[in-house]
């Protein structure tokens, strides 16, 4: 009885992931059948089985690429999320900062990441740090905006209640504003994870030796359709994994469903 509920709960968390895998398998099978049925040429659209085969032929190359790109994303995303939350808190508390720095942030986001990428590679060289910086640049902004939004969405009556208990601004931030902002922050984290992965892949185009972006580029130069699709598939798996991890964390942390009332 006591053990039954946690097991059920764990299964409940895995269930959406399981459904996703099943749906993905079904889609791949459908594509496979379509390619065969309409006799589509491999250089237009290769059969999924051929793509999987290519991955299985050199698994180490794809694994290394995924680890590398995953690490770049994770580093940049982690730093971007923390910085975004931190600066969001600072903006919500200090009007001066909000009015001076925030517009600069917005302008910074109008620079296309491609233009920015060239600069970053000049600064940091062909290192993992360069990609992490690009991911960071793409990640922190949505997190900042949503953290700020979330903290300002707080119920003023709740603020008054805490003040009537004698709470300081810092306590109100910790016990009320930050938890209120959490659901908003998670929305941003989901968006940022997809953006961040794209940033890491694109970042590798500016020069690197491993990574999914590198594999994509090599496939393109070699006009190897199967290799391109294999890289795309690996990117998708990585993207889904990030998204699912954030979703899982959200379920545990924002268990009340994000409604403050």
């Amino acid at each position: 009885m006591a053990g039954a509920q946690p097991v059920a709960r764990r299964f409940g968390a895995v269930l959406p992931l399981l459904k996703g895998v099943v749906v993905l398998a079904a889609v791949l099978l459908a594509v496979e059948l379509l390619v065969i049925a309409f006799d589509i040429r491999p250089y237009v659209l290769p059969r999924p089985s051929a793509v999987l085969e290519a991955i299985l032929r050199t698994p180490a190359a794809y694994r290394d690429a995924m680890v590398r790109t995953g690490l770049e994303t994770l580093l940049g995303f982690g730093a971007g999320a923390l910085f975004g939350i931190w600066i969001g808190i600072a903006f919500s508390r200090l009007r001066f900062l909000r009015e001076t720095i925030f517009p600069i942030f917005i302008v910074s986001q109008t620079i296309p990441v491609i233009a920015f990428g060239a600069l970053v590679v000049m600064w940091f060289g062909n290192t993992i740090l360069a990609k992490a910086v690009i991911v960071f640049y793409l990640t922190f902004f949505p997190v900042t905006v949503n953290a700020l939004l979330g903290m300002r969405a707080v119920d003023e009556k709740q603020v008054q209640l805490l003040r009537s208990f004698g709470a300081s601004d810092r306590e109100i931030m910790r016990k009320l504003r930050f938890p209120t902002a959490l659901p908003h922050i998670f929305v941003a984290l989901r968006i940022a994870s997809a953006l961040g992965l794209a940033g890491a892949v694109v970042g590798e185009w500016f020069g690197d030796t491993t990574g999914l972006g590198v594999l994509l580029l090599q496939g393109m130069y070699a006009e190897n359709m199967v290799a391109i699709w294999a890289s795309i598939l690996c990117s998708a798996v990585l993207g889904v994994a990030f998204f699912a991890a954030i979703g899982l964390a959200e379920k545990r942390i924002v268990f009340w469903g994000g409604e403050s009332a």
Binding site: Q158, Q160, L162, S164, F165, S260
Partner: protein, 279 residues
Amino acid sequence: MNMPMTHPSTMEPAMTPAEEPILDLRRLSKTFGEVQALNGVDLAVQPGEFVTVVGPSGCGKSTLFNIVAGLEEPDAGSVLRFEGQSVHARQLLGQVSFMPQRDLLLAWRNVIDNAILPLEIEGANKAEARAEAQRMLPEFGLAGFADKYPHELSGGMRQRVALMRTFMFKRDLMLLDEPFGALDALTRTMMQRWLLDVWQKHKRTVLFITHDVDEAIFLGDKVLVMTARPGAIKLSRKVDLPRPRGADLVTSPEFISLKRELLDAIEEESMKTFGPASH
């Protein structure tokens, strides 16, 4: 008519009029820009007293409470005395236990952790506060609900958690702003009787806002009627009905005649707001 109140013997000895009021407001006014919300409120609450405030809607009741809770400063010239000292409203922050109309529970805290919120802010030991809250649960009809979250509770239960939070913030003066306003009639009656029980046990001073005259008489030692905006005290009536009070009280002749008098006063004030427009 100045006989001591008829508290049961468990209460403190009956107070004498000479005793210093815990809260004493004189010529209290509050203006927001062009709008005058309060105009010369005079009000004194004795320690241990249960004072109810009724008035037409928009008469500045909530403004009055916000001032006493320390959230708003009154206009210059107002006198605000608390426990014998002349104070600024902001000095009352953390001194008065305030319960607003809505429960305002924090969605990410369970019943116990919502109830101990004010103690946590005071810097109390969390484990001890939780243990104390655990002991208080049955009295508030929340036994077995310690680990529930607000979204799992009914409106009446949420309100009881909010009341428990207010009681756990042990201050001599409690401000309750229409705590039962959003509840259905039956739940409300049960909560009123229950509140009287809890109040008699904890010996707190209560200032209670309501727009329900029955509720005001049923609960109060004294009922204050406010004027239409700008708010002031129009009428103050002692309620010399015996305690503990039961459900049958509301049909007694004394209750009815008092209700008549208070309703007349409120209606007169409501007419000032609505009268000219309706003719």
